[in-house]
Homo-oligomer: 129 residues x 6
């Protein structure tokens, strides 16, 4: 049932990134409330909830993908929060983004690092600890 997919997605989001979904829902409520539902149902209820890959790795591959897109810093920062909430270390996140210099080029990797720096500063996360 669709309710289950939404519920599953919300449970995942509650654990991983509760604030970002609340903000998303609020931002979309006047313009496209169904889109917030699709995020919960499809992105998290269907995809992230699949077995076969742990939460930490799911967040790291998402960070790789969004760094490669290069134009979605809001979503990138939201998933850097998600990765930290999932138990990734700042260093692991930085390693993924540095590696993107090889696959997506230096400008996108640099912009990804700036976003990581903002999130780490905001959360007072330190590297190498």
């Amino acid at each position: 049932m669709s309710v289950d997919r939404y519920q599953k997605g919300i449970e995942y989001l509650e654990k991983m990134n509760p604030d970002s979904f609340k903000i998303l829902k609020k931002e979309l409520e006047d313009v496209a409330p169904d889109m917030a539902r699709y995020v919960a149902e499809f992105a998290y209820g269907d995809i992230y909830s699949r077995p076969g890959l742990d939460f930490k790795t799911r967040e790291l591959v998402t960070i790789a993908a969004i760094t490669t897109l290069g134009c979605a810093q809001t979503q990138l920062k939201s998933h850097i929060h998600g990765a930290l909430n999932a138990g990734c270390t700042p260093q692991e996140i930085i390693e993924v983004i540095i590696q993107m210099a090889v696959y997506a080029g230096f400008p996108k990797a640099l912009n990804g690092l700036y976003s990581a720096d903002e999130v780490f500063t905001e959360r007072n996360e330190k590297l190498d600890e």
Copy 2:
């Protein structure tokens, strides 16, 4: 020393994907032999060899990035080989590529799955085993 970076890269490549580097070197020998050297020195010697992220995760985030690029199926297949050689299961690779439907769109995710299917068939890899 530069020799060390090359050596470190080659050692990594020998373990992870020896054939693909041999092919690359051969393909580039007439047109840009330095480029094969940069792949060994920079991509593998500098970046992949960094501590802070295990080999399996490095291959999975690369698969995410190249699926998102959408236009480099040769390199994608080479890293699917690399991920399998690093000990990733076919299922983990498939999970990463399916997840790209959310971040890079369905067409790129589908093309990534076709590339994975080709590699799995070639190596006689089975899902869920």
Copy 3:
């Protein structure tokens, strides 16, 4: 219920592009059968089935998007079939792709036109009729 979403998607696909979904399902059955289900459920059952935009326009904006991606000619050709099946004229499809020269650049627009040419030839579609 999820069955309804799948059913709605399949009904849409039966009307618009039955062959391409059969091919997709066959191609994915060994590697990622869930992905074919997501195409039916999410792409067609959730999104294409939404009221508020007619089928013809949905196919034309998809053609614009995939031409802009530039790296998914199989999916582009599938949606050119879909657009024709939805009642778009060859001319309307060509107009969309030509217009992409302005937004995505000439190389991607040219490659889109080659794909359109292949589909029109295969179906014996003529322009301006």
Copy 4:
């Protein structure tokens, strides 16, 4: 004659989005005045003025393309204005952008929706009316 192409383009722009062209011309007058001329002559005089596709659909496929680019929010907002001026409803615009989640991924679709929200708020446009 080139004058005709410019004139045709300007007439189109006067109808569809007069302010945005005035702003564009002003912005480019010191750095690349010819570029504003090419926008009028080529993009509007040559392409948008072609028969075979109505103005509304031209704006909707442009919105699909720019949402897929993902990095041109100024131009996206300008074409959301254009689409509304051409007679598209807010709902039709939202449908196009939501559909881009399937083809360009969720992050680009979300950023497209935020741009639409800004334009609708500025113009006091309401959905579903």
Copy 5:
């Protein structure tokens, strides 16, 4: 006058890459003959014919751009021919494409080098001569 723009474009193309325009015109004659005209008029008659940048540099920056797109190997090869016809050495072309590893990532640079290798082999061009 439009005739002049077409004429100017054709003259440029005759000098730089006569075969590729003939092929293009032939390929588009059934599907979008106007598009070949726009290539001559706009791309070559308006843009390439502008003073302020020599032909060789125009071809090299185009090679950089198409390598960065990553999905238009036919057009890339056509401009590698154009660059050679304009007097660029094979080495200069290779330098531009190698440099794209930094800005567009290694996979796109590698695919650019393969295209260059095909063109050089076809024309029997040697590096370092």
Copy 6:
């Protein structure tokens, strides 16, 4: 030796764009100091320092590439500074970016021109002098 690569890169950067590397190093010192080193060693020490292409052309092809990426305005502006420092005229830079309308589409070319305008204004550079 690696020291040489770094040294070579720094020498290049000192000549071409000393401020931007100082800023980069400062920005990355808490989050990924190695990344600044890779910029100096690989991007400048290995690639830009290669013989076979002059500095001016290297900056112009980089401007073409980053305009085509479309999402890295900070890096684009840094290389517009670099191009001017290398002796390119404002007009040559503008020509490259205008030409990107053909290969990357008008929205990315326009955004590139806005970045150029900002840099020229900041440096009080005039076109056509």
